[in-house]
């Protein structure tokens, strides 16, 4: 009975895709996991910094547009006697709509880029974990 149980264990273990090490992680396995994870974070740090930088630049540009550039545009259009008040309002509305749509495009692109980088990071982590 004892021998047959042992034989059956061996039989199933052969097809088991979870290694015994991962079933019962030892301190060494956890250490290896942390070590590889940190190595990957270090490897991906240029991408992480880049995304943070892109988002920061994007927010600064949005803020600059509404705080500085738009008032300049309003002044410029107000000073131009050839442009009547209604036309000025029409264009200001269309201009801000166009700029907002363009900001929306940039935001989508940055988000898609961040998602792609996160997916690549997850794939790299999973590949490392599979080897542990």
């Amino acid at each position: 009975m004892g021998e047959s149980k042992k034989a059956s264990d061996n039989c199933f273990n052969e097809f088991d895709d979870v290694s015994p090490k991962r079933k019962n992680p030892s301190i060494q396995v956890l250490y290896d996991y942390e070590k590889h994870y940190m190595e990957l974070v270090r490897k991906f740090s240029p991408e992480i910094s880049m995304i943070v930088g892109m988002l920061s630049d994007f927010r600064n540009e949005q803020e600059q547009f509404y705080k500085e550039i738009l008032p300049q545009i309003v002044d410029k259009l107000n000073q131009d006697v050839g442009i009547d008040a209604e036309m000025r309002n029409v264009w200001l509305k269309r201009l801000t709509t166009n700029i907002d749509r363009s900001f929306g495009l940039s935001e989508t692109l940055i988000n898609d880029y961040a998602t792609k980088s996160v997916d690549e990071f997850k794939t790299a982590v999973n590949e490392k974990l599979r080897k542990l």
Binding site: M87, W91, S102, L109
Partner: protein, 154 residues
């Protein structure tokens, strides 16, 4: 693996086009825009003139995308993949403008061409040319409308 290139290039292009839009207004750089702004706000003509200016600005994004793809040394497979990615983002962007009044038919056709470009089919070169023609059609149509209105007014 998809490279960072299409993401970073389109982010750059979008920013460049925003700067152009701002400078056109601030520095009176664009005759098309100021022709519209100096029009009579009671007349319908200003709407067409503004639409013409905006069509050119929207097209500028596509021109810059084409330039960046043309300047990149890459295989045919990568080129198709790049066109598909750019077309997907660009289609979403363009769909914000729905010119139902003057440009509806051409607008729909343009959206369909972009859809075909996204699907990475074998006719991408023809579809790129069709995109160029579609913008030419829009500009021609709007210029004709402007002329017609101007003739009516005089």
């Amino acid at each position: 693996m998809i490279s960072d290139y299409p993401y970073l290039e389109f982010i750059r292009i979008a920013k460049e086009c925003r700067t152009i839009l701002i400078n056109d207004t601030l520095s009176s750089n664009s005759p098309d825009l100021y022709d519209a702004l100096y029009s009579n706000s009671q007349s319908q003509i200003y709407q067409i003139k503004l639409e013409l200016y905006e069509i050119k600005w929207i097209e500028l994004h596509w021109k810059k995308i084409n330039e960046t793809i043309e300047s990149r040394d890459c295989s045919s497979v990568e080129r198709k993949e790049l066109i598909s990615m750019f077309a997907k983002w660009y289609r979403n962007f363009v769909s914000n403008w729905n010119y139902t009044e003057f440009d509806a038919v051409i607008f729909e056709e343009r959206m369909n061409i972009l859809k075909a470009l996204i699907s990475v089919n074998s006719e991408w070169e023809i579809n790129l040319k069709r995109m160029k023609v579609s913008f030419e059609q829009s500009k021609k149509l709007l210029n004709e409308k402007i002329k017609a209105f101007e003739t009516e007014e005089h």
